[in-house]
Symmetry: C2
Subunit: 205 residues, 2 copies
């Protein structure tokens, strides 16, 4: 192999990103070299800026350059609803969908006993404190529907049990736009269990 | 959407790369933020360094920080064989495979009349000049097997016709490790046409 060192060094760095393999990294570096110089300047600067100015919001755990973050400090958000998510990535996904106007709490992990991962008592304490403060009336659990998500929901539901708040979770069912024939058995089962009534039978006796 | 500006700016920049969509860009930025600060420093620096120090080799067109590049100036490479590739990406792919020890010539494009792309006379002139110089005995055309590749091969073969060099192309056939049942018709046809004789029938008359 006879690649020049700066090229190879940068490829190795790009390869460290999740989902970026050797070929993608190579393509990225070559793309970079074809762009006007302003692009790589902006990229290098953007990376520096992100890594120096961003940090977790002290209230919700969202990534932010202010503190509290723009969600926590937004006067127009519904302060009575708190959505608990596994990660900032999930928070961003929900935000970008534009379907939720309440507040968030980033748990940072799921309870995964098989991998020896517990939700630390400190995090649970922070959560209880957060839910006790302010006007939270409903806590929505928005974890991915898998074993770890279910276990974490059980844990949080029991931890929040003493508090006078409603706890709900996202519904499970057919993904909209998906097809019945492609749905797996567990999803079909969930969709059947949680079926929505469209017309209620009148008593005819 | 309530993402902080540095985060969103960097996501937009990552999204400009080929093969990087919104979700991958988001994941990349969040990954970056989880790394030790040294990583983002190294990345920013690597990007700056690449964009400031790399340029095409004046002999072959490979991307390099020296001139001529490390391949052209390597005394141990076979100077009698010149492999013509479409792009630096293809050159790197061949180099990383470690199967070729000759020199290269990066054409930079393919002849694609349907998209109105011609190989410029200047490039062809450079190619003829390159092949005439030194001790080139064989020119290997290593283009992707598609219409544009074939047209470019025809063009180059005719351009090099007056010169006393052998011109060859990579063989077409079943990809090794692939399966007959997954091969497309054109590949099967090529594999049949270019079949390799394993035992020659002896005359028995």
């Amino acid at each position: 192999m006879a690649l020049s060192k700066p090229l190879e060094d940068l490829m190795r760095l790009f390869e460290r990103f999740p989902g970026i393999g050797e070929k993608s990294a190579r393509r990225m570096v070559l793309f970079l070299l074809q762009q006007p110089k302003g692009f790589s300047e902006a990229l290098a600067e953007g990376i520096r800026k992100c890594s120096s100015s961003l940090h977790p919001c002290s209230i919700c755990g969202n990534i932010t350059d202010d503190d509290p973050c723009s969600i926590c400090s937004d006067p127009f958000r519904d302060k009575s609803t708190l959505c608990i998510v596994e990660s900032v990535e999930d928070l961003i996904t929900l935000e970008q969908a534009g379907i939720y106007n309440g507040l968030y709490f980033v748990l940072g992990m799921l309870y995964s006993p098989l991998e020896g991962e517990e939700v630390s008592p400190q995090v649970l304490e922070r959560l209880v404190k957060r839910v006790s403060q302010g006007d939270i009336k409903e806590v929505i659990l928005a974890f991915s529907p898998k074993v770890e998500g279910e276990l974490t929901m059980n844990l949080i539901t029991s931890v929040l049990d003493p508090l006078p708040v409603t706890v709900s979770r996202l519904s499970y069912g057919l993904p909209v736009g998906g097809s019945v024939s492609f749905a797996d058995r567990t999803t079909l089962h969930a969709a059947l269990e949680a079926r929505t009534c469209l017309k209620r039978g009148e008593g005819r006796q």
